[in-house]
């Protein structure tokens, strides 16, 4: 066994050669993704980030605005809409639209959640809503990049990549940063990329079924025995080659990577095999029900991954080429009914399951979308993109739930109290993971780059962890 420092000096190939194993790495070459000590005592070991792709209406879910109903069908008063632009509507002309859903006071805390979330409402006391989120990108791709990487422009590392860069992984047999999507992302893979960090930190896509990782299975027509024999041939040739080049650890690392790739073929499917989960557990997530089966499986898988020490799990709900929250452009009612039906029970099930297994305390669950939707109607039945004020929520990691931070204005238009941007949120997430957003840096273009750039002063961990309302 070598220490990290030994390796860095021995390998002589720079960091790249050591950056073995976004998926796996041999113990003797532990490097890029082995667990690393945090800056301070962490509240959470893992993050499950539930990303609602396409834009969820805040005024119909977690930010009740009775005034919208009162003034339904009227334009915004005075200069309220000045200076705001978005994808399709004109803020000066479009009409206010009250929420078609009732809000209820839920749990002991009385946190207000709309009727779209009957299951989640049962966990109102676990979730802390941030009602004063805001951003400045109204188009999907820039807003998605912004929400995770802190920049509207692609090419910067995502939150998951930074987390894994900072903390490594507890499990060398699985990727440290796993992504499960519904397929087509409006942002492409940039949303979970490593940007200028070494590629080893980028998110690895997990799919459902017997082939969770791309190219995991042997090629068609090559059975297990034949595959093993070919791998033995590779190993034999490689050892012969290595015998004359023993000083080069990168050659050794590649030899090991094939063995681990092979082991992965049997081990990864075990993670995605949920057949051994009890009927009750599967039911909890809505698995087996048409509407909830897909996202339920993803949520259950997220728990199984976190249980095995995976650091960061990013789930996307919604896709550019199928059911999406963004269908709310023309059909608020249909889209939000459908997407909530798809995700409400699985998310509630996830919270319940994590809690009952004692995992919620060490897992941070974040729910967010790239932006909210306009309190004004688009056409007759829709709502447009709205980044100027919207809601997210967090649970687990010792957070005191049942509360809401900040507020948007009378009409849910702009965040006005305790305004929180993505940097504040990311600084908070890092701190819950035990990292100081000022100290988590990577030198690129002669600058010590940070996830939060020069921002993040509005970090609100203390509020989340304080017992006061």
């Amino acid at each position: 066994m070598y220490s990290r420092r030994d390796l860095l000096s021995r390998a002589g190939k720079g960091f790249g050669a050591l950056a073995l194993g976004s998926l796996l790495e041999p113990p003797a070459l532990a490097g890029a993704t082995t667990a690393r000590p945090p800056h301070a005592a962490p509240k959470a070991k893992s993050v499950i980030f539930l990303f609602m792709h396409g834009g969820v209406s805040h005024v119909d879910t977690f930010d009740p605005k009775p005034s919208l109903r009162r003034f339904d069908g009227q334009p915004l008063p005075g200069s309220f809409g000045e200076g705001l632009i978005t994808s399709r509507i004109d803020f000066r002309k479009a009409l206010m639209r009250g929420s078609p859903w009732e809000f209820h006071r839920c749990g002991k805390s009385g946190l207000e959640i709309s009727a779209l979330y009957p299951h989640l409402s049962e966990h109102a006391d676990d979730i802390a809503v941030i009602r004063s989120c805001h951003g400045d990108a109204f188009d999907h791709a820039p807003a998605i990049y912004l929400r995770t990487s802190g920049s509207q422009f692609p090419g910067r590392p995502s939150l998951g990549a930074w987390s894994v860069y900072g903390l490594g992984s507890e499990n060398q047999n699985l990727p440290a940063f796993v992504v499960m999507s519904d397929g087509a992302m409006k942002s492409g893979a940039g949303a979970y990329g490593a940007g200028y960090l070494p590629a080893v930190y980028q998110g690895t896509i997990f799919r459902s079924g017997q082939n969770p990782v791309l190219h995991l299975n042997s090629p068609k027509g090559v059975n297990a025995e034949a595959q093993r024999d070919t791998l033995d041939l590779i190993a034999r040739m490689n050892r012969r080659h290595f015998a004359e080049r023993e000083e080069d650890t990168s050659l050794d690392a590649r030899i090991a990577s094939y063995e681990l790739a092979y082991r992965m073929q049997s081990e990864a499917p075990e993670v995605v095999d949920i057949s051994k989960e009890s009927e009750a557990t599967r039911k909890l997530y809505g698995i087996g029900e048409q509407a909830t089966d897909d996202f339920g499986r993803k949520c259950l898988l997220a728990r199984r991954l976190v249980e095995r020490g995976v650091r960061f799990v990013q789930l996307y709900c919604g896709t550019n080429l199928g059911d999406d929250w963004d269908d709310a452009h023309n059909d608020l009612l249909g889209s939000h009914n459908k997407m909530c039906r798809k995700s409400d029970q699985p998310i509630a099930g996830l919270l319940k399951d994590l809690k009952s297994r004692g995992l919620l305390d060490s897992t941070l669950v974040v729910w967010s979308s790239e932006f909210g939707r306009t309190p004004l109607a688009e056409g007759k039945n829709g709502r447009d993109h709205h980044p100027y004020g919207f809601a997210t929520w967090m649970a687990g990691a010792g957070i005191h739930g049942g509360r809401a931070l900040g507020a948007t204005d009378e009409f849910g238009l702009r965040a006005v109290e305790q305004r929180k941007d993505v940097h504040d949120m990311n600084a908070t997430i890092l701190r819950l993971l035990g990292m100081d957003h000022l100290r988590l840096t990577y030198r690129y273009q002669s600058r010590d780059q940070r996830l939060t750039d020069v921002h993040g002063e509005g970090e609100f961990t203390d509020w989340l962890l304080s017992a006061k309302a």
Binding site: G16, A19, G155, A199, H215, V222, A226, S446, R447
Partner: protein, 798 residues
């Protein structure tokens, strides 16, 4: 008594301090705080200026060192004002300055010195006597290291062929070289390789990494940058022609302002092949700022090896680049306008006229086809609907906005079933209608006979002679701040750019920039390029941070060598091929990659090049070499981007429908062309290239990683690409013969060598077992090939 002695001591010292103090200031402070640079408004090159101070007030309070800003800064009393950035001054220097200030901060009487840039890379390089080998040898001696012996010829030809072509040498090339008794054998090999067009395909790719080249623009729609590949071809051709590097710079930065020749103007495609949101018109002003930022940042890091990005928001904290300088540079690009370069005027005009007419005809034909089909479609839909229950029918007849949720669900569920299909329509059509339809379709197809890309290349020019104004960002007050004009970096002696002549069609700002960048007097340009070439040959630059020659960059390992190569590069007419020859013919390049035990111990990173640095093939080389081994490589050059077939699971996660975003090239022979011709979408990298560290293509990439990951092994081992190529390889091997003959052929194709007896035995037993399992010898040989393609001997260069 003691006090008196100390006082006397300090008095004695103070006689010498003004000169000493000034030396300390010159050495440590002047690069940012003197002359025209004056970051934060502060100059420390005259007493008056120091007393006046900068934005934070007076730097010196004569007689009061403890409250002087200068002392507070150099003692790091306030962490926010710790100067100079990086290492703190030595205690002795601090003491000198303290005593000097306390003694009144007298300025030396000597005549004012001209402020010369202090940082090594800001001074013009000069050649020293010596060659690559003598400089390297001197350093090795100094470090007490012995060099490794020369590599054998077989190793050398494989190394240099991949290095210059990104491809493996053929078996006959190896044999010829190994047996060549001519003392100039290696020299002719290098010359042959440099003269081959494959050279541009390899070295053009390095350049494309730097200029963040892509065939699409990124973001949600990831739209095609239609003629981007013309710029890619221009780059390949430029390297093959050994276009002088100064000319190459000028064409890219200001080809439109400097040259009539459209071939040269193509260079300005440099500005158009990055990510952009040009097609999102609603945020045109934001996009413009993003483009300007991209132009300034990319241009300064690619050509000057400087990261100026920090100065966008404030004076640079580490390099002598002020915020004003940043915006002076931005003002150079402010009048930009993307355009099309007409590669041939008459053809371009003819193409546009043809498009115009074609579009007019197209409207009419499409309308006719639509109206011919419409009645049949209606009939079919009615018929299909009538077979469904009344509730479902209602869902289709009711107004879209009035549908109940149940009706909506019905509508979605049955929409496909009710939709008329193409063949059903045709079956129903009358002969006369069918005939009309066929004629219309024939006319439609006729419009696209011989349809091909137009004679255009993406390019850049100015909106005119007048530019939009550029302002500094203003803090606390409504924007804009103070207006700034175009200019070149002050620290490098850059001046304001004058107004263009009255008759000029453009502002000629980029022309001024281009000429300044491409000037022999620019201290950075040649150094940066020479260092890049060195890095691509040796895996690591003489400066390890190839796009950062500023004060935070790495110091050069061999400064005299770097400067000598840079000076010679300019003397040799900026010829990149001459530089290659110089490097490749050195003994340093030809050394074995086996380190001496002492080198492994003392210089594990091989900074001093006692031996050659072994490297893994890069992404494109892996794919191209697999095709080459299989004998399927199509060596055709140039042309529009090729979209190879991929498995559905490999295309996962694309932001747009695959039918639009991955339009597989119809001619399958194109699929096995070199990787540089494969489409590079910004939102999606081909998995095989992605796992082998092809960069994302969003920001300039000056040095690729070389990672080793399990996904890499999985993809090369299990991906369909490898399997298909292994089978093709097996076919070829089996035409040579079976058994040991086939085995030898597989070895020759993958390793370019014969198997030894032991390997032959291992392989024969392997084939025996695999044939039994897989049924056919062909599949077994394919397995042998798949295995060898995954080995380190194939993937690494000694």
């Amino acid at each position: 008594m003691i006090t008196r002695l100390l006082l006397a001591g300090s008095l004695a010292l103070s006689a010498a301090t003004p000169e000493q103090a000034l030396q300390i200031l010159e050495k440590n402070c002047w690069s940012c705080h003197a002359g025209a640079v004056a970051l934060s408004g502060l100059r420390l090159d005259s007493r008056a200026a120091a007393l006046q101070g900068g934005k934070r007030g007076a730097a010196l309070l004569p007689g009061k060192s403890s409250s002087s800003l200068l002392l507070r800064a150099i003692t790091h009393a306030d962490p926010k004002l710790a100067m100079p950035p990086g290492a703190r001054l030595g205690d002795a220097d601090v003491a000198v300055l303290r005593e000097w200030v306390d003694a009144g901060a007298a300025w030396p009487a000597s005549p004012a010195r001209a402020v010369a840039p202090q940082w090594w890379s800001f001074r013009k390089p000069a050649a020293s006597p010596g060659s690559i080998d003598t400089f390297i040898a001197a350093k090795l001696r100094e470090k007490g290291l012995a060099s490794s012996p020369a590599a054998d010829r077989r190793t050398l030809i494989r190394r240099v062929t991949f290095d210059l072509h990104g491809l493996a040498p053929s078996e006959s090339e190896i044999t010829a070289f190994v047996n060549d008794a001519n003392p100039k054998a290696y020299e002719s090999l290098v010359d042959r390789l440099l003269a081959s067009p494959h050279y541009g395909e390899k070295w053009g790719k390095h350049w494309l990494d730097l200029v963040r080249y892509g065939d699409t623009a990124g973001f949600e729609q990831d739209p095609y940058t239609l003629y981007a590949w013309r710029y890619r071809d221009y780059v390949i051709k430029s390297f093959n022609d050994d276009k002088p590097y100064d000319r190459f710079i000028k064409e890219q930065i200001a080809g439109d302002e400097l040259y009539e020749d459209p071939e040269a103007q193509q260079g300005t495609g440099y500005f158009c092949v990055g990510p952009n949101r040009d097609m999102l018109y609603k945020v045109e002003d934001i996009n413009r700022v993003e483009s300007l930022t991209d132009f300034v940042d990319t241009t300064s890091s690619v050509f000057l090896g400087l990261s100026v990005g920090c100065a966008r928001c404030h004076d640079h904290k580490y390099d002598p680049i002020s915020q004003r300088d940043y915006y002076r540079m931005q003002a150079i690009f402010a009048p930009f306008q993307k355009t099309r370069v007409f590669l041939h005027y008459n053809n371009a005009r003819g193409y546009d006229l043809g498009e115009n007419t074609r579009t007019f005809k197209l409207y009419d034909i499409s309308a006719e086809i639509g109206s011919l089909k419409a009645p049949y479609q209606d009939r079919l839909r009615q018929e299909k609907l009538s077979k469904l229950s009344p509730e479902i029918q209602a869902a289709f007849t009711v107004d879209e906005n009035q549908r109940t949720p149940q009706q909506k669900a019905f509508f979605e569920a049955f929409a496909k079933q009710v939709a008329p299909k193409e063949d059903e329509i045709l079956a129903l059509m009358t002969a006369a209608d069918k005939d009309r339809l066929q004629r219309a379709e024939k006319r439609l197809a006729g419009l696209y006979n011989n349809y091909a890309p137009g004679p255009f290349s993406p390019g850049l020019t100015d909106v005119g002679r007048e530019a939009p104004r550029t302002y500094l960002p203003a803090k606390g007050v409504p924007p804009p701040g103070e207006e700034v004009g175009p200019g070149l970096l002050t620290v490098l002696g850059g001046k304001d750019i004058p107004e263009p002549p009255p008759a000029s069609a453009t502002t000629q700002r980029r022309r001024a920039l281009a000429e300044w960048l491409a000037s022999a007097d620019n201290p950075l340009t040649a150094r940066v390029m020479v260092n890049r070439v060195w890095q691509y040959h040796f895996g690591r630059g003489l400066v390890a941070t190839p796009s950062d020659f500023g004060t935070r960059g790495a110091a050069p390992s061999h400064p005299e060598l770097l400067d000598t190569l840079a000076a010679q590069f300019v003397q040799n007419g900026w010829s990149v091929k001459t530089l290659h020859r110089q490097i490749l013919l050195s003994e340093t390049y030809r050394r074995s990659s086996r380190p001496t035990p002492q080198a492994s111990e003392k210089d594990p990173e091989n900074q001093y090049l006692s031996h050659f640095r072994r490297r893994r093939l890069d992404a494109e080389e892996v794919r191209d070499a697999v095709l080459q081994s299989a004998g399927t490589l199509n060596a055709k050059m140039y042309g529009r981007a090729v979209v190879p077939a991929l498995q559905a699971e490999e295309l996962y996660g694309m932001s747009q429908p695959v039918s639009n975003a991955w339009v597989v090239t119809a001619d399958v022979r194109e699929h096995s062309r070199r990787s540089i011709y494969m489409i590079s979408r910004r939102n999606f990298r081909m998995p095989l290239l992605e796992v082998f560290d092809r960069p994302e293509g969003v920001l300039s990439c000056s040095r690729r990683e070389s990672s080793t990951t399990a996904p890499q092994s999985l993809t090369l081992l299990n991906g369909e690409f490898t399997l298909l190529q292994a089978r093709a390889l097996a076919e070829k091997a089996l035409t040579a013969g079976d058994g040991n003959v086939a085995i030898a052929e597989v070895f020759r194709r993958v390793y370019a060598r014969e198997p030894n007896a032991d390997e032959l035995k291992t392989a024969a037993e392997f084939l025996d077992r695999q044939s039994k399992r897989l049924g056919t010898p062909r599949d077994a040989v394919a397995e042998l090939a798949r295995g060898l393609l995954n080995t380190n001997e194939f993937l690494y260069l000694d």
